[in-house]
């Protein structure tokens, strides 16, 4: 049976790659390989997964240098011959082996005011939002983000400027900027503007290139730049 030589990161910030030989199967995913190593070769290997079908976003890792969902990545598409290198996501602290600490990532969603702030109560009628309205379409374009962290791990600006909110948090903010029901627009624009916000983005586009959901956080950030500039010109920032 053909085998795959897999190098997997072991340890925390200090550590190194350890090689394992894993049997090669048809339609095998990277998550299948990691699971094989943990179940048969290295029981102490730590990694994170849940749904296995690309819905939860918890199994993202760096595969041959590129951040990906391991459950939706076939070995045939990423293996370099019979070699595979699996590391934790970049730009996040490592808890152990392939598990990263996502707190900083999600704290930035909160800093970017990524929470809906409504003004209606249960006594009010439903808000009516035309699905064909430009704002709703812009919100729709980014709403499917599941917070896997692939864009964040792929962003050079996050690496250079650790306080940068990052593509996912700014994409989330953009969906709310376009939510006509939301009542915290000024605070949100203030939260996403400035050195750590949308203006730090260089539009390199790694987030768009790597997003497994084919979203375009860079386009959302460009939208935030336009809207914040308009608000600043009117003295409302």
């Amino acid at each position: 049976m053909p085998t795959l030589r897999v190098s997997i990161w072991r340890g925390r910030t200090e550590g190194g790659f350890v090689d394992y030989d894993v049997p090669r199967h048809e339609s095998q995913t990277v998550l299948d390989v990691v699971t094989h190593v943990q179940r048969h070769l290295e029981p102490s290997l730590a990694y994170r997964f849940a749904c296995r079908v690309g819905m939860c976003g918890s199994c993202a890792m760096t595969v041959n240098g590129v951040a990906r969902w391991t459950c939706r990545t076939h070995i045939a598409n990423v293996a370099d011959g019979d070699r595979l290198e699996i590391a934790p996501l970049a730009n996040l602290p490592v808890v152990k082996d392939l598990v990263t600490d996502m707190r900083g990532f999600f704290d930035k969603w909160a800093r970017a005011k990524g929470r809906f702030e409504g003004r209606r109560t249960r006594d009010d009628d439903f808000a009516r939002v035309d699905p064909a309205s430009p704002a709703r379409k812009l919100a729709d374009a980014g709403i499917e983000c599941i917070g896997c962290g692939v864009c964040y791990a792929s962003c050079d600006v996050v690496a250079w400027r650790p306080d940068f909110l990052g593509p996912a948090a700014l994409n989330r903010a953009w969906t709310l900027v376009n939510d006509v029901r939301d009542d915290a627009q000024r605070e949100r624009l203030r939260a996403v503007a400035g050195d750590a916000g949308c203006h730090a983005c260089h539009t390199q586009g790694s987030c768009v290139e790597r997003c497994p959901k084919h979203l375009a956080p860079a386009a959302a950030i460009a939208g935030l730049k336009r809207v914040t500039a308009r608000a600043a010109a009117r003295g409302k920032l």
Partner: protein, 113 residues
């Protein structure tokens, strides 16, 4: 205030980029024409000397550069050199002044030389 200043800087960088896109195009066409025509330095100066059109065009070009470039340089200084925001902006403003002085000196020489 810093947020508004940053948003405005982005706006000016974008507007100056639009001006530069046009200026660079015209400048390149001018260079290609001059080179292909085999014009000497003296022949070029004979065409630009006293020309209000050349002076106005290159003055706009210099101003657009002096606005556009330092905003990006400040970002790079912060990220790659680890400068703080104030230090980076101060360095960028000094660079803007340098660009403007050098650029206008060249424009002056072009139309009076």
């Amino acid at each position: 205030m810093e947020h508004a200043a940053q948003a405005k800087r982005w706006y000016w960088q974008r507007v100056s980029a639009m001006v530069l896109a046009l200026c660079v195009l015209v400048h390149l066409v001018t260079i290609v024409y001059a080179v292909r025509s085999g014009l000497s330095g003296e022949a070029l100066l004979a065409r630009t000397r006293g020309s209000v059109a050349f002076a106005a065009f290159y003055a706009v070009f210099v101003m657009a550069c002096a606005v556009h470039v330092p905003i990006g340089v400040a970002r790079i200084a912060e990220e790659w050199l680890g400068l703080g925001s104030c230090a980076a902006n101060a360095a960028a403003n000094a660079f803007a002044l340098l660009l403007a002085v050098m650029g206008f000196t060249a424009v002056y020489a072009m139309v009076t030389g």
